[in-house]
């Protein structure tokens, strides 16, 4: 087991399915060390392309009692990665220092065997470069000392407008990622295979806002002390009731 294990924790409770993580991943990695992420006929009738990250949508329940769940999916950087031992060349490997699973593009022969050995469908052959590609956790970015410290995060994490993606070392019990998993019921995908995915997901939670009457009526209105009740009175017409909009 590697000492550190970097991972993403994805909060399904706040993901709104905007695909900002998908496009920022494509933008960064298309031009970075993991690139290109080629597209075939991007403006043609039958476009196709390489992505490290997808956002899928599921409808849970039966109408009208349904929940729409947006589900970002990328390499889970398993602690027991089944894709690594099957590689005939050693191109697929798991880094000892931080647990990131990577592909050495210069050694990959494009035999696709590792993709068969991944139950999550996290690996994609790039149709132009003809080698296997996958999420790198932006390994070319998170250690780049030239970047401001706040930018040393995976591109998807930086892009997420709802902070649904938490990045950190899940072997450090004090990291934000570990705390989120521990305190918000973080879980792994397809636990039945024993792959021990490093990435975790936080479940949907029902959050209710409790508002008491005195919070709406301003029981602490200082005018009350002077004998002047709040105006308009709670049962009187408000601007919303008389205005034409």
């Amino acid at each position: 087991m590697s000492k550190r294990q970097l991972a993403l924790v994805i909060d399904l409770n706040v993901c709104v399915g905007c695909h900002a993580c998908v496009t920022s991943c494509k933008e960064w990695n298309g031009a970075g060390a993991a690139g290109p992420m080629s597209d075939q006929q991007p403006w043609g009738a039958d476009p196709s392309g390489t992505f490290f990250n997808r956002v899928q949508t599921f409808e849970v329940g039966e109408y009208p009692n349904t929940q729409t769940v947006h589900f970002p999916k990328s390499c889970l950087h398993c602690e027991e990665p089944p894709c690594v031992p099957v590689c005939p060349t050693g191109a697929s490997y798991k880094r000892e220092e931080d647990g990131i699973v990577l592909v050495d593009y210069d050694k990959c022969i494009g035999c696709k065997y590792c993709s068969w050995a991944c139950p999550y469908g996290a690996r994609e052959v790039d149709a132009q470069q003809k080698v296997m590609k996958k999420c790198t956790l932006c390994v070319d970015r998170i250690y780049d000392a030239r970047l401001p410290e706040a930018d040393r995060l995976p591109a998807c994490v930086k892009a997420c407008p709802t902070s649904a993606r938490i990045f950190g070392d899940i072997h450090d019990p004090q990291s934000a990622a570990s705390v989120a998993i521990r305190e918000h019921g973080g879980y792994a995908l397809m636990p039945e295979w024993g792959t021990k995915p490093a990435n975790h997901y936080l479940p949907r939670r029902i959050t209710r806002m409790r508002i008491h009457d005195d919070e709406l009526l301003r029981a602490d209105n200082p005018l009350r002390v002077e004998g002047h009740p709040p105006r308009p009175a709670p049962d009187a017409a408000t601007l919303d009731d008389v205005a034409p909009w």
């Binding site: 409808e59 050995a117 139950p119 003809k130 295979w193 949907r204």
Partner: protein, 317 residues
């Protein structure tokens, strides 16, 4: 899974080549043990070895078309400690070398026959090892339940051997007629054993319950989950590699087709030849039918395997 033509050709061609070599060695070993009346002609061994080598070479060439970067194929020998694919990459050329040496020693004439037999026995061991490597490439992927069974390497061994012995019987009909019946008997037994093994795997596959569900795939425990978007409208590797794309109608007819072509008809023809009711040359037709049937069988082997990643790619938009 998507059946790749390159892999279908690779596994069927080298299977026939491996079986053919083992058939040649079987004839020679039986003659050496004096269990057969007459040793076969040098031409039979020589032509047989060359045909086996040609089949293996054709399979090797086909395999390169499966690779994205075939110019780096030599790197695939590196991870033999963990990868069955790596082991196959090592054993296949070693076996081809042994077959070439076997043919060469026979070409040098009768004095080298015993040396050839020793090399042939070593080659037979390599042939069996190659069947195990090829079968284990599939059987070792635990996510593909249809493949993850000892029946997979067993059937690769039986089906490859059956086609190779049928081809050997056809060659013997032309070059070593006294041995044609002997080889047809082996071919018939192996064809029937292959039919039984494949029937067992089909029976098993029909009863499999997928271990992963949509619930475990996204971690939401609700009986009713429907994917409304797979996240993109275009094509992707995940759609091309893991779905066979054939219609349910095609899936229905391929299985009976290979049952007839790979097993029933060759068994019938070999049986007729054995009973003396048909000329031994019919083994050539039996081989052609069986090879065509094994192409369909291998296509079905891939198409029938259902990968858990497909749970994430159910919606077509």
């Amino acid at each position: 899974m998507h059946p790749a033509i390159s892999v279908i050709l690779l596994t069927t061609l080298i299977g026939a080549g491996q079986g053919l070599l083992m058939a040649l060695v079987t004839v020679q070993a039986w003659a050496w043990l004096a269990l057969r009346p007459a040793p076969a002609t040098t031409a039979f061994y020589l032509v047989g070895s060359l045909v086996a080598l040609a089949l293996l070479a054709a399979g090797l060439v086909a395999s390169f078309f499966h690779l994205g970067r075939p110019e780096r194929a030599w790197r695939a020998a590196a991870q033999w400690r963990t990868s069955w694919l790596s082991r196959e990459v090592i054993v296949l050329p070693a076996f081809m070398g042994a077959v070439a040496l076997y043919g060469l020693l026979h070409g040098l004439g009768a004095p080298m026959a015993d040396a050839a037999l020793a090399v042939g026995l070593a080659a037979s061991v390599l042939s069996l090892a190659l069947f195990v490597c090829t079968g284990m490439i599939y059987a070792a992927v635990r996510f593909l339940a249809e493949w993850h069974t000892p029946l997979t390497p067993l059937n690769y061994t039986l089906l490859g051997s059956a086609s190779g012995f049928t081809l050997a019987a056809a060659l013997a009909a032309a070059l070593a007629p006294p041995h044609a019946g002997f080889l047809a008997g082996w071919a018939l037994a192996l064809t029937l054993a292959g039919a039984a093994g494949r029937a067992a795997s089909l029976w098993r596959n029909a009863r499999l319950v997928p271990r992963s569900t949509l619930q475990s795939a996204i971690g939401i425990q609700h009986p009713q989950i429907v994917q409304t978007s797979r996240g993109f409208t275009g094509g992707a590797f995940n759609l091309r590699e893991f779905f066979h794309g054939a219609s349910p109608g095609t899936m229905r007819w391929v299985m009976p087709a290979f049952a007839v072509l790979a097993f029933a008809l060759p068994a019938l023809l070999l049986g007729l030849a054995l009973a003396g009711r048909a000329p031994p040359a019919l083994a050539a037709i039996a081989f052609a039918l069986q090879y065509a049937g094994l192409l369909a069988e291998r296509w079905f082997f891939f198409a029938q395997a259902n990968h858990p990643q497909n749970l994430y790619y159910q919606a077509v938009h």
